[in-house]
Amino acid sequence: MIGQETFADALLDGAKEVFETMMFMTVEPCDEAGHVIGGSALLGSITFTGDIEGCLTVCCSYDCAKTIAVNMLGAEDEELSEDEVVDAVGEVANMLLGSLKSRIAETAGEIQVSIPSVVSGTELVNSLGEGAAEISQVVNIDEETARFTLLYRDAKV
C-alpha cells in the first residue's frame, strides 16, 4: 500500500516530538526485532476516518505507562492514581496521531480523529481485518519499551 515507508518514518518522528516536548523523554527504535510487550499492559487507541481510515495504538506495560505519566505531570509516583496513568496513555495516543497526521497530510489527505480509549490486559493486539496495512514501531523510551502501531486501509468509496 502507498505510503508505508513514509508512514513508518512519520510515526517514529511524531513519537519523538511528543515524548521530547511533553515528557522530556527520548525515543529510540528498539533493535530487538519482534519484541513483545509482556505481562499486564495498557493499550491506548484512537480511530480515524477520511481518505484512509484505521487506528493508532500505543501499547506498553503498566510500569512504562506510569513512568510516562510521571514525566508528563512532573509528579512523584505515589501521587498518581491508576486513572491518571490510564488517561495519560490515551492522551499519548491522541497527541501521537496529531503529530503523525500533520506529517502525512500530503499523502493521506485530511483525516478526522475520534476520542481515545484505553484498555488493560495481556497480549493486547488490534486488528482491522483483511486488506489493512500495519505499521509498527517498537521503541525504547528511556529504560522502558513501548509499541506504536498504525493500522489503516483506503476508505471505501
Binding site: 516536548t21 497527541m95 497526521k101 500533520s102 480523529v113 476520542i115
Partner: protein, 125 residues
C-alpha cells in the same frame, strides 16, 4: 489584577498539565483555576463565574471545542473573555476556522511550557 482562568479538556491529565504549566509560569493568575471536561460544562462555568481567559481543547466527547467557541460568542457577557484553543489539530483550515469563530489564540499539542506562557502573555495585562 490577577486573571481568572478556565481550563477545558476531556483528559484530566491534560487539564493537570496545563494548570501546572500556568502555575509554574510567572503569571498573575487567581489561586483557583476552574476546570471543565467538555464544551457544555465550560459554558456552565462561564455562566456562574467571571472568567478572563479560557484554554480549550477541540477534540472532546459531548460538546467539542469548536462548538463551544461558537456558543460562547453568542452570549454577550462573554464578549471580553479570551479563548485560546489547545489542540492536536495543526491544519491551517482548523486554526483559521476556529479563530474566525471567535477564538483569540491557538496552541498545538504537544506544547512546551514556553509556548503556553507566550500565548497567554498578551492577555495578562
Amino acid at each position: 489584577m490577577a486573571k481568572s482562568l478556565l481550563v477545558v479538556d476531556d483528559s484530566a491529565t491534560m487539564r493537570k498539565i496545563i494548570t501546572r504549566t500556568i502555575r509554574k509560569a510567572d503569571l498573575s493568575v487567581e489561586d483557583e483555576i476552574l476546570e471543565a471536561g467538555d464544551g457544555s460544562e465550560a459554558l456552565e462555568k462561564l455562566e456562574g463565574n467571571s472568567v478572563d481567559i479560557v484554554l480549550c481543547d477541540i477534540n472532546m466527547p459531548g460538546m467539542d471545542g469548536r462548538t463551544f467557541v461558537k456558543e460562547a460568542r453568542q452570549i454577550p457577557s462573554n464578549a471580553n473573555t479570551k479563548i485560546i484553543m489547545i489542540s492536536t489539530e495543526s491544519a491551517d483550515e482548523v486554526i483559521d476556522g476556529v479563530k474566525a469563530d471567535g477564538a483569540n489564540g491557538y496552541v498545538t499539542k504537544p506544547f512546551t511550557p514556553e509556548t503556553i506562557q507566550k500565548e497567554l502573555a498578551p492577555f495578562m495585562e
